[in-house]
Symmetry: C2
Subunit: 245 residues, 2 copies
């Protein structure tokens, strides 16, 4: 197993960082690494915004409700972005469209591929990261804070920093519950491996150093999915010019 | 610059592979690497389907219209997947929802983060990859081929294989056109760097070894975005139980 694969397979999200800012060189390496990820038809339908203004960081922390949004090495916000294409088109003979669901999918995938590259680049330098879907707790407010125009949407954030904790490795679904050959299986075929997985996760929660608890994966995710959260995302996307057809 | 960052920054998509299948160990390393990517609230809202049946490969090639969908080391299809959660919930007291736009976003991001990990793992082993958004040319047909139930959607594919070409490095947007501090800039602030970028890309297309052409980035992407493509994606997603609120 090579070093890169070891790094990938050893990922854990960190939620506590030193109070030490990343320097510009490091930030640029992270962005350059992010950018080289694959992008659909060379469109590069995303932008990245780094938050250095303490007032803005505090405001985003309020949306996200996580302390590590305020205290980290650097806070990146990933934005689905068709605004630059729109601006270019308005100065050309082309009439472009980005209001299809397809265009939104392209922008989200582009942004996520780039972000994962950034995560790996950061970890390869000994930094820690955590993704912040929590900025979507109030996407409209994020748009206001970042002054985001039509054709853009804040899809997630990422806090990067110097680790002060090791983080805990969280076992993923068994391979046979997530990888299939040629077609999607009947639930009966994967049921047992999901039960085994519940056992594994329960053991982990019981025996880990910190935050011991009695829980299993299936209960945990069903609890999450039974909450009706972020139902405004649809309308916010529409306001930004997406999901129009 | 460490080896992992060199690898990330040297990515190029490959579209021609040896006729040599990946072995099971390699496939498992790729999947394990994919799985360890971050996942929103531990939900792991995706599955991966490997296509080995030649008939299915041929059928997917017809959708995708790309020869490398049929000829590669292994063909992976990434699927947004809430079906396992739905099945688990139906056997429990929980009532779960995944028909919000928010849930769809979570599934797409989860799948894309995992896929980018797979891409990097593959490249670290000397393999080449290409993403296949082109499976969405006919998402409904993909659903039929893969027998995908409610709560799932085929978001993209990835062909992986032993390279027979080096691929060409494609310069990304200048950092100052993609990375901003604290808020989104006025277009006038990035206009010049986009012009410079057009120059860079034009030079590249003129001077590269194969497929020389006279084109610039802005024209290329505007041409792409002025096509009305894959407008059925919205309805297919609805049929699969997504985008209901």
């Amino acid at each position: 197993m090579n070093e890169t694969i070891k790094l990938l397979q050893n990922h854990r999200s960190l939620r506590k960082f030193e109070e030490r800012a990343l320097d510009q060189d490091t930030i640029h390496i992270l962005i350059k690494s992010a950018q080289q990820a694959s992008t659909s038809s060379y469109v590069q339908a995303y932008s990245i915004i780094g938050i250095t203004d303490p007032e803005k960081k505090k405001a985003i922390r309020e949306i996200s409700t996580q302390a590590y949004v305020e205290y980290n090495g650097h806070l990146f916000i990933f934005v689905v972005d068709y605004n630059r294409h729109k601006q270019l088109a308005s100065r050309s003979d082309y009439e472009i469209k980005f209001n299809s669901t397809e265009s939104l999918l392209v922008g989200i995938v582009d942004a996520a591929l780039a972000a994962e590259n950034m995560a790996i680049a950061a970890e390869s330098m000994g930094l820690g990261i955590v993704f912040l879907g929590s900025i979507r707790n109030d996407a409209a407010k994020m748009i206001e804070i970042l002054n985001l125009p039509e054709g853009t949407f804040p899809i997630f954030g990422m806090a990067v920093g110097y680790p002060v904790e090791e983080g805990s490795f969280k076992e993923r679904l068994p391979l046979e519950a997530v990888y299939f050959e040629n077609e999607y299986p009947e639930f009966e075929e994967v049921k047992e491996s999901l039960n085994d997985y519940d056992e594994t996760v329960t053991q982990y929660y019981k025996t880990r150093e910190e935050n011991k608890r009695n829980d299993k994966w299936s209960r945990q995710v069903m609890k999450t999915l039974s909450k009706k959260e972020r139902l405004d995302v649809h309308d916010v996307l529409k306001n930004q010019g997406f999901l129009g057809q």
